[in-house]
């Protein structure tokens, strides 16, 4: 793979193309899988297996009236949905899909991912605030608190991996897993990172900023047309991103037995995690807001600190 050394612009274009299409395809996959798990039919009319629903959905989003409420703060209202897409797409820059297929092999790759995911919180906060609507504001405040809190656990849980690999570089982290995938020694860190990832992408069961049954879609209730589409696509790219990160950090990235090329292993693992995200949505109820916060600060934070201390001690013990 390495010898081929694909063209740099080809990689960038390829990553962009694949990610945007995966996000669109996930809409269909999610509906079909939800229907399967909840014993319904799901979209099955347009085209083979209802596949054309993607085209119909995107066409609808493009041609819907793009309405900006007169009471909204216009520049911020327009800016908010762009931030989510930009920050998620930028995060894909540091992900090593296979040996040689990575846009930027940054030494601080992991920190770059954390930085971009913390920028993503702005889209919710600003979107909810600029809508100038009580429900949106409630959603935005919940979103801000949830994302800031869970970012803390996310970052701390990742430090266990950094300690074991001795690097922030994602490629080196994958290469350090050639003996043993990190999810075995870092099982606690993996579980906490995954929960924090769900909270960070505000997906069910932790979709408290949206919570359609109590907040009528929360921070994006005033959005329509392609602005809403950006939030929508951003969410699906967000779960793809978290799946990619879980695979890279804990499940050996592109590593796997030799009979399949590395990129295929990566795609298989990511697809498995995407399915878990959808299965969670199909099966879990939403916790109350204060329960989410208490769970985070009273259970996850001590556990992450414990995990970090034990990992550091073991690493030191093995070295010395």
């Amino acid at each position: 793979m390495e010898a081929a050394a694909p063209n740099y612009f080809l990689i960038i274009g390829g990553v962009l193309f694949v990610m945007l299409n995966v996000a669109a395809a996930l809409i269909w996959i999610e509906r079909r899988m939800l229907a399967l798990w909840q014993d319904r039919y799901g979209p099955n009319r347009a085209g083979p297996f209802g596949l054309l629903i993607i085209a119909a959905d995107s066409l609808k989003l493009f041609f819907k009236q793009d309405w900006t409420p007169p009471f909204a703060d216009k520049p911020v209202f327009v800016l908010a949905p762009a931030i989510v897409v930009v920050s998620v797409l930028l995060s894909f820059v540091v992900i090593p899909f296979a040996p040689g297929i990575i846009v930027a092999d940054l030494n601080i790759g992991l920190l770059f991912f954390l930085a971009m995911s913390s920028m993503g919180a702005y889209s919710i906060i600003l979107g909810g605030w600029a809508s100038n609507n009580k429900y949106s504001l409630l959603g935005a405040m919940r979103g801000a608190a949830q994302m800031i809190s869970y970012e803390v656990f996310m970052g701390l849980a990742l430090m266990g991996v950094v300690l074991m690999a001795g690097s922030f570089n994602l490629r080196e982290i994958v290469e350090a897993q050639s003996g043993l995938w990190f999810f075995i020694p870092q099982i606690l860190g993996f579980v906490i990172f995954f929960i924090a990832g769900i909270a960070e992408t505000h997906r069910l069961p932790l979709d408290i900023p949206e919570a359609e049954s109590e907040l009528i879609a929360g921070f994006h209730s005033e959005y329509s047309g392609m602005k809403f589409g950006m939030f929508f696509i951003g969410e699906y790219m967000g779960i793809t991103l978290i799946s990619c990160m879980v695979v890279t950090l804990y499940f050996g990235g592109w590593l796997g037995p030799d009979f399949l090329p590395p990129i295929v292993w990566f795609i298989i693992k990511v697809a498995a995690f995407l399915m878990i995200f959808i299965l969670l949505r199909a099966s879990m109820p939403r916790p109350r807001y204060d329960q989410l916060m208490e769970f985070g600060w009273k259970i996850l934070l001590p556990l992450t600190l414990l995990n970090l201390m034990v990992t550091a001690a073991v690493v030191l013990w093995l070295e010395g």
Partner: protein, 181 residues
């Protein structure tokens, strides 16, 4: 690389000026975020990628979000923006502006005078170097920061402590319920 530094520095300066002069406080904070991002790029071009990442994660990603979080609760309206405009008269800002101009002139003089030019070449400061200096010569500072943060947490806990509220009267203990009736 040098051009990126100058562009980022210019963006940082402009964004900071915009932060100060905006009347709408959320717009001001947005410019503050841009300013932090630009400073992160400056760090990056100067060979400190670790600091650049921390700048974004901590300042742009956490602290400004917390400030916005507080401001959202204040329910600012268009009238508040008008008030802000009325309050910000030249009488208020001329004094500090003159003093800052003096400082700026001094800073420019120091930077431009030849004997303050950096004598050694730039070295990349990565995470390892930052960690070694934090837990080596600056150990005391790290511990003092820890104590300060601990005090902050204890204070916040004390201020935010509430008696447990009962969600429903049937969940109250029996004697309290009869007392309430």
């Amino acid at each position: 690389m040098e051009l990126t530094f100058y562009i980022a520095a210019a963006v940082a300066t402009l964004a900071t000026i915009m932060t100060i002069t905006r009347y709408n406080i959320i717009h001001a904070l947005l410019y503050l975020v841009v300013s932090f991002l630009a400073v992160a790029v400056v760090f990056f071009t100067l060979g400190a990628p670790f600091m650049a990442a921390l700048e974004i994660i901590i300042y742009a990603g956490a602290i400004v979000v917390l400030i916005i979080f507080v401001i959202m609760m204040l329910n600012l309206t268009h009238e508040d923006v008008e008030h802000e405009k009325a309050w910000l008269t030249p009488k208020v800002w001329v004094g500090p502006a003159i003093l800052s101009a003096v400082l700026l002139a001094e800073l420019a003089y120091i930077i431009l005078s030849p004997d303050t030019l950096p004598t050694e070449a730039l070295v990349a400061v990565d995470a390892r170097v930052v960690g070694l200096s934090l837990y080596g010569p600056y150990m005391l500072g790290v511990q003092l920061c820890g104590i300060l943060l601990m005090a902050g947490i204890v204070g916040a806990y004390h201020l935010g402590r509430q008696k447990k509220k009962v969600v429903h009267r049937f969940l109250q203990p029996k004697e309290e319920r009869s007392a309430a009736i």
